[in-house]
Symmetry: C2
Subunit: 333 residues, 2 copies
Amino acid sequence: MKKLINDPRDAVRESLAGFAAAHADVLRVCFDPVYVVRADAPIAGKVGVISGGGSGHEPMHGGFVGQGMLDAACPGQVFTSPTPDQMEAATCAVDGGAGVLHIVKNYTGDIMNFEMAAELCQARGIEVQAVIVNDDVAVQDSLYTAGRRGVGTTVLAEKICGAAAGRGYDRGRVAALGRKVNANGRSMGMALTPCIVPAAGKPSFVLGEDEIEMGIGIHGEPGRERLPLPPARELTAHMTEAILADLPFRAGDRVIAMLNGMGGTPLMELYLVYGELERILHARQIPVARRLVGNYITSLEMAGCSITLLKADEELLSLWDDPVLTPALRWGI
Amino acid sequence: MKKLINDPRDAVRESLAGFAAAHADVLRVCFDPVYVVRADAPIAGKVGVISGGGSGHEPMHGGFVGQGMLDAACPGQVFTSPTPDQMEAATCAVDGGAGVLHIVKNYTGDIMNFEMAAELCQARGIEVQAVIVNDDVAVQDSLYTAGRRGVGTTVLAEKICGAAAGRGYDRGRVAALGRKVNANGRSMGMALTPCIVPAAGKPSFVLGEDEIEMGIGIHGEPGRERLPLPPARELTAHMTEAILADLPFRAGDRVIAMLNGMGGTPLMELYLVYGELERILHARQIPVARRLVGNYITSLEMAGCSITLLKADEELLSLWDDPVLTPALRWGI
């Protein structure tokens, strides 16, 4: 294992220390228990929006903390759910009297711990509501999940719910928007290489010389199939068709498209795949209204990519366009 | 070789097509000859600022085209200089009557081709001036370079010269600022893994299981030494001390710091190294006035990082803070 770390046991904490130093203008990091929080939290009268999950998916979620997106994020150990005490402390830290929304990716540990945290907070008199993201079309049930896994749509839900909370919408309305994003968002990913969890020291799976895993999860969970690496054109068509057929997306549907890198794939390849994606959508008469290309929800140094499409009406597009100022997404400010 | 491409011969062109589709609000890509140009170029009365170099270093340079930074960028084939006709066409496209500045990294091919392009443009009546960036402290002379290589400081020079041109400074003053940035900027990089040029299909060098290359160039050119991977704390100290001793940077000097990923290293590790860097600078009483952490000047999927420090006075900091709107750097707009 070759990684730029000191002791694997300290990697998450030391990375967060560097993250805090780099973005002190936007956020701060609390270390006992561990959570990332907007520098100006809590904001009186605003619904707090928080998320969390295992580390190793950076910039998600800490990189989305800031004005117009998340109020706080709870990072667990690498690929491991954060604990209820982290979520409870983060929820208390961002409650401005209007309650808090938990955006939770559908992994059994995350769901269980966020539910426990919600109960603890409700006992303290903080109103908490949860939105579950389960957008991965690749497989039903998985290594850490009953039902579908939560992946790329989480990023879009965090942006849109954050914007809604920033406009002063009440908790019910922000939660309804989160559910709307999840209902209209679909994703699928693939990997060229595995990644190594620092504490494990070796890859969690192995791929052959010319083999890919189609439909992989963000922790390396098995996908639909292993196959020889096809040209980018076929690969993109394969993923896009699976996504389009699932909702289904129809001619005339406008979408927010995210072409996401898994961490180890260079931007040159991501843009090439994005070009293929736009070509396919254009041929299907599905206009791309907004887009993101880059590393947003990653799996450490895994090479590969994922595609997320969100069918977006005027309401979602308008919230998407609201200003945002976080380490990883920034516009209009 | 596992890459998300179709035919290696088309990879640069197809990637640029996706890049153009993703960022049509900011820029457009011309394909014959190939260059990336601001959507609103030329801007009457403003000095044009352009750069260029081999592809495979994305987001540099195309990702820095836009308001407040570059007017155009010329991408060559992977790790190969662009040609004079590309540079000539880009220079003509951005000349708004106040002349054009070429920001050139110190590689023999780049220097030669930019010089030839400058002569062609001058023959057409366009005033052209060049700034050479040669900030890499690792080695004197190299595989493609006489003298020092041009690396991370290029990003900072493009931001600061772009801001100066945006303020309406004349060509001489913008060029002088570029030289000032180069005179005060120093960098050093290291690699954990090699990368594969698509047309070659195999790594250009090999590293042992636990071995790193300290002082590597952005095309995999040899550095100072190969050594066993040290903990991140020692590794960061090694690179930082080499940089600090070179200028030299002294207690009280304020710096713009860039902790740059080579492409294949996850953000989690980059932030960890950034934390170590800030700790070292703090102990040396060198305040970090501004910072960038992420992938800015990469080597395809190479794992590793580089550190750039720029001694910055009020003038440079003020230009740094000017608004910028490009695919890869964005603030204040």
